[in-house]
C-alpha cells in the first residue's frame, strides 16, 4: 500500500482510499481529496513535516500525519 507521504516531489498519483476518521475525511473531501481524484506532490517543507499537493487546480498544504492516511496508487 502506497501512501501520499511516500510520494516523491513532482509525482502524480490517484487517490485509492482515505483512511482518516469521519471529520478529517469530510475536511479532505471538501478540498477535493477523495477516491479517484488525481493528485500531484508539489513541494516538501523542511524535513517533510508538511507537503504541498495539487488536486485539480487547487494547491493544498497537508501535514505529514494527514498525508499518511491517504492511500494512493499509480495513475
Amino acid at each position: 500500500m502506497k501512501k501520499l507521504i511516500d510520494c516523491e516531489k513532482g509525482e502524480k498519483v490517484k487517490v485509492a482510499k482515505l483512511h482518516a476518521n469521519h471529520d478529517l475525511k469530510q475536511r479532505l473531501i471538501s478540498f477535493g481529496i477523495m477516491k479517484d481524484a488525481n493528485i500531484q506532490v508539489l513541494e516538501h517543507a523542511p524535513r517533510k513535516k508538511t507537503i504541498e499537493v495539487k488536486v485539480g487546480k487547487m494547491r493544498i498544504a497537508l501535514r505529514a500525519e494527514e498525508a499518511e492516511l491517504i492511500e494512493v496508487k499509480a495513475l
Binding site: 482515505l18 482518516a20 469521519h22 471529520d23 478529517l24 475525511k25 469530510q26 475536511r27 479532505l28 473531501i29 471538501s30 478540498f31 477535493g32 481529496i33 477523495m34 477516491k35 479517484d36 481524484a37 508539489l42 513541494e43 516538501h44 517543507a45 523542511p46 524535513r47 513535516k49 508538511t50 504541498e52 488536486v55 485539480g56 487546480k57 487547487m58 494547491r59 493544498i60 498544504a61 497537508l62 501535514r63 500525519e65 494527514e66
Partner: protein, 713 residues
C-alpha cells in the same frame, strides 16, 4: 430584522440575497461591484467572523445582499463554515447567489451541489470570467444553465462586467416560481432515491419541497429533514427503507461513510458538467505558472524561512517605528487637551476625573490606533496576496511540536509589540482550538509596555555593559516559557487528537486596495468602539481607586509645608511624599497592604504588590507607581536620588527576580484582557486566562525567588 422594516417599508419589493461561495472566489470584491453606490454598508458580527450586509435600490426593488464567509463545504470545521451554514439553514432570505471561480469550476461546483439541496431559489455567478478568458478557458454559461436548470451568469468583479445582468437575473428569478435544479446521480443512487420517492408518493406525504429533494436530504442525513419526518407516522415504515438505501449506496462506493459516498457522486456529476460546458482553448502548458514560480522561491526549503523572517522584521519595523510618529502626536494632543480642558474646570475633583481619568483613559486607547492600522494593513496585505498560507506551510513543522499551528507565528510575534493587535490577529487561525491555545500564550510574549520595567530593573542590578544582554535574555525566556506553556496546555486543557492541518494555498494575487481599506477600517472602528468604552471605563476606575478616599488632614498639612518650603528640591520631595502617602491610604494602597501576605512568600513588599496590581490596568503604570511609592527615600539623599538607586537599595536581588518573573507572565493589561475576552468568545475564557497566568506567575516567581536565594544572591 427590525432595522429592515424601518429602512424598507415596502416589504413586497424587498429581495434578500445570500452571497455564498468557496474562499478566494472574489465574493467580497463582487459585493463591492454590485453595490457600487455604497448606499449603506453595515457590519453585524458573529462570534468573530463578520457577515457584511449591503443595502441598495435597483429598479423598483430594495436589495439586501448578505456576504457570507467563504466556505468549502457544509461542515462545522471553521467559524466561517459554521456562520455560513447556520445562516443558510436558519435565516430568512429569498435567493442564493453562488459565486464560483470560472478558472476552477469543478472544485467550486462541489459546494454548488450541496446548495442545490437547500431547496431555495438560486443562481450561479461565474466570477473571474476575465481571468478564465486569459487562461483560454471558455465556459458556456447558457448550456450550463440548461444542464443544471439553474441560471448561470458570467461576471467579473474585477472588470465590473456582467454585474447588471446578474442583478436582472436575480429579479427575474425572484419574480418567477421556484424550479428544482438538476442533479443526476449514478444509477445505483438514482434507484434508491426513486424507492424513497415512490414510498412518499404512495403515502401522499404533504411537503413544500419536492419528494426528490426530500429523498436526497434523507440520504444525506440532513438533520432538519430527519426531524420533520421523524414525527410523522410514516417514519416507522420509511426508516427501514432508508437504512437499506444507505447501505446500498455505501456498498456501491465501498465505504462506510454515506457522506463520502455522496461527495463522490457530486464529484462525478460535476466532472460530467465541466466536461460538457468548459472548453480549454490553449493546450495546458507544462510550463510553470506564475504562482508556481513565486512558490519555488517563497516556500523553498532553504530560502523560504529567511525570506519570511525578513518580511516580518520589515512589518514590525514599520509598525513600531512608523507608528511611533503619530503616537507622539496623539500623546502631545491629549496632553494639550488635558491641560486646556483642565484649565476651564474649577472643581478639583471634577478636573481630576476629566483630565486624569477620562481624557487620559481615552488617550490611552487612541494611542494604539496607529499601531493597529499599520499592523492590519500589513496583515491584510499578507493575507490577500496569499502569502499567509505559505507562512503556515513553512512554520507548521516547528510550531506543531508545541501544539501550535503554523499561523500562530503571526499573533505571537505581534505580541512582542502589543498584545491587543496580537489578540486581534489571532483571527487568521481558522480553527477554534488552535486559536484559543494561541490566545492563551500571547501574553508570554513581553509587550512593549513591559520594556520600561525591564530596563529599570536591568539597570538597577546589572552593569550597563551587560544590561542589554539581560534584557534580551528576559525576552527570550518569556518566549520560551510561552512555548512550554503551550505544550503544557496542549497536554492538559487542550488535550485530544491534533487538529488536522489541511489548508488551501491560494493563487498569488495583487491585493485590492479597496478591500484592504475596508478590512482595516472596519477592524479599527470595531477596536475603537468596543474596546474603547471598556478601556475608558477601567481607567476611570483605577483613577478612582488611586485617588480616593481623600485625606483632607494630610493634604492641608502638606499644602502648608510645601508653601513654606525653601528650595525647589524640598518642594519636590514634599510633593512626592504627599503623593506616596496619598496613594498609601487610597483604596489601591489599602488593597496593596491587604494583599501583602500573599506576596510575602515571593519576597515582595506592599509597594511592589501595589505596582503589580496597578499594572493590571496598564503595564505603563508599573514604573510610575514604583516611582511614587519609593519616592519616600528614607535612606536616600535628595541629590543622588534616582529611582534606579532607590530600587537597588530597597529591593533585594531575589525579590527583583521574582518581580520581573511576575511581570513577564501575569495578566496583560486591562485593555488587552477585554480584547482577549472578545476574541476568545466569552467571559469564561477571561477567568481561565486569569487563573492560568496568575498561578503560573505565582509558582514561577516563588521558584525564582527561592532558587536565587539558594544561589546566594
Amino acid at each position: 430584522m427590525n432595522e429592515h422594516v424601518k429602512k424598507c417599508p415596502i416589504i413586497a419589493n424587498h429581495i434578500k440575497v445570500a452571497l455564498v461561495g468557496q474562499p478566494n472566489v472574489g465574493k467580497s470584491m463582487l459585493i463591492n461591484s454590485v453595490s457600487n453606490a455604497h448606499l449603506h454598508v453595515g457590519n453585524f458580527s458573529g462570534v468573530t467572523v463578520d457577515k457584511t450586509e449591503v443595502l441598495f435600490d435597483y429598479k423598483h426593488y430594495h436589495f439586501t445582499v448578505v456576504d457570507l464567509p467563504g466556505t468549502y463545504a457544509f461542515t462545522d470545521y471553521t467559524i466561517e463554515e459554521r456562520v455560513t451554514k447556520e445562516y443558510l439553514c436558519a435565516q430568512d432570505y429569498d435567493i442564493i447567489i453562488n459565486v464560483v471561480d470560472s478558472t476552477n469550476l469543478e472544485k467550486n461546483l462541489q459546494l454548488t451541489a450541496e446548495l442545490f439541496t437547500m431547496s431555495k431559489k438560486m443562481l450561479i455567478a461565474l466570477n473571474m470570467s476575465d481571468e478564465a478568458q486569459k487562461e483560454g478557458i471558455e465556459v458556456n454559461a447558457e448550456y450550463m444553465s440548461e444542464l443544471l436548470n439553474v441560471s448561470c451568469v458570467k461576471v467579473s468583479a474585477a472588470q465590473k462586467t456582467g454585474i447588471e445582468e446578474l442583478i436582472n437575473t436575480v429579479v427575474k428569478i425572484y419574480e418567477e416560481p421556484k424550479v428544482d435544479p438538476k442533479l443526476i446521480f449514478s444509477e445505483a443512487v438514482e434507484e434508491e432515491i426513486q424507492h424513497i420517492v415512490s414510498y412518499l408518493q404512495k403515502h401522499k406525504y404533504e411537503a413544500t419541497n419536492s419528494y426528490r429533494n426530500i429523498a436526497i436530504n434523507l440520504l444525506k442525513e440532513n438533520k432538519k429533514t430527519y426531524e420533520t419526518l421523524h414525527d410523522d407516522p410514516i417514519w416507522i415504515e420509511l426508516q427501514p427503507i432508508l437504512i437499506e438505501a444507505s447501505q446500498h449506496v455505501e456498498l456501491h462506493h465501498d465505504t462506510d461513510d454515506i457522506k463520502e459516498a455522496l461527495a463522490e457522486e457530486y464529484a462525478s456529476f460535476n466532472r460530467g458538467v465541466v466536461a460538457e460546458v468548459v472548453k480549454v482553448k490553449k493546450p495546458i502548458k507544462e510550463e510553470k505558472t506564475l504562482t508556481e514560480r513565486i512558490d519555488s522561491l517563497l516556500i523553498h526549503p532553504l530560502y523560504g524561512i529567511p525570506i519570511f523572517l525578513f518580511l516580518m522584521w520589515g512589518l514590525f519595523q514599520l509598525t513600531f517605528v512608523l507608528g511611533a510618529v503619530p503616537m507622539d502626536w496623539i500623546n502631545l494632543f491629549f496632553g494639550w487637551l488635558g491641560n486646556a480642558v483642565g484649565a476651564t474646570i474649577g472643581n478639583d475633583d471634577i478636573r481630576s476625573l476629566v483630565v486624569d481619568g477620562l481624557i487620559a483613559g481615552v488617550g490611552a486607547v487612541i494611542l494604539f490606533v496607529p499601531n493597529i492600522i499599520i499592523l492590519f494593513v500589513g496583515i491584510a496585505l499578507l493575507e490577500t496576496t496569499g502569502y499567509m498560507s505559505r507562512v503556515a506551510f513553512l512554520l507548521d513543522g516547528f510550531f506543531h511540536k508545541f501544539g501550535l499551528h503554523g499561523q500562530s507565528f503571526i499573533p505571537l510575534v505581534t505580541g512582542f509589540g502589543c498584545s491587543i493587535p496580537a489578540y486581534m490577529s489571532a483571527r487568521i487561525l481558522k480553527n477554534d482550538r488552535d486559536r484559543l491555545l494561541t490566545l492563551f500564550i500571547i501574553s508570554f510574549m513581553s509587550c512593549g509596555a513591559r520594556l520600561p520595567v525591564y530596563v529599570l530593573f536591568a539597570g538597577a542590578f546589572f552593569n550597563e555593559s551587560i544590561a542589554g544582554n539581560v534584557l534580551f535574555a528576559i525576552y527570550i525566556t518569556g518566549a520560551m516559557l510561552g512555548l512550554i506553556a503551550a505544550k503544557v496546555l496542549k497536554m492538559t486543557a487542550f488535550k485530544g487528537a491534533d487538529e488536522p492541518f489541511v489548508m488551501e494555498m491560494p493563487k498569488y494575487r495583487l491585493p485590492s486596495l479597496k478591500l484592504v481599506w475596508h478590512t482595516v477600517l472596519s477592524k479599527t472602528l470595531m477596536y475603537l468602539k468596543k474596546a474603547g468604552t471598556f478601556i475608558a471605563g477601567a481607567t476611570v476606575l483605577i483613577w478612582f481607586l488611586s485617588n480616593y478616599p481623600h485625606n483632607l488632614e494630610l493634604e492641608t498639612s502638606y499644602a502648608h509645608k510645601i508653601e513654606q518650603a525653601q528650595s525647589k528640591q524640598e518642594k519636590n520631595k514634599l510633593t512626592n511624599e504627599l503623593a506616596s502617602k496619598g496613594l498609601q491610604q487610597s483604596y489601591l494602597g489599602r488593597i496593596g497592604k491587604f494583599s501583602e501576605p500573599v506576596f510575602e512568600p515571593l519576597g515582595l513588599d506592599w509597594r511592589m504588590a501595589v505596582a503589580l496590581e496597578a499594572g493590571l490596568a496598564a503595564k505603563e503604570v508599573v514604573v510610575s507607581t514604583l516611582g511614587v511609592l519609593y519616592a519616600l527615600g528614607d535612606n536616600v539623599s535628595e541629590t543622588t536620588y534616582s529611582l534606579k538607586d532607590a530600587i537597588s537599595k530597597n529591593i533585594s536581588f531575589a525579590s527583583a527576580v521574582a518581580f520581573i518573573v511576575i511581570i513577564m507572565v501575569y495578566l496583560p493589561c486591562f485593555a488587552a484582557s477585554v480584547v482577549f475576552t472578545r476574541e476568545a468568545g466569552g467571559i469564561k475564557y477571561f477567568f481561565y486566562l486569569l487563573a492560568f497566568t496568575t498561578i503560573t506567575a505565582y509558582v514561577l516567581a516563588y521558584l525564582a525567588y527561592h532558587i536565587t536565594l539558594l544561589l546566594g544572591y
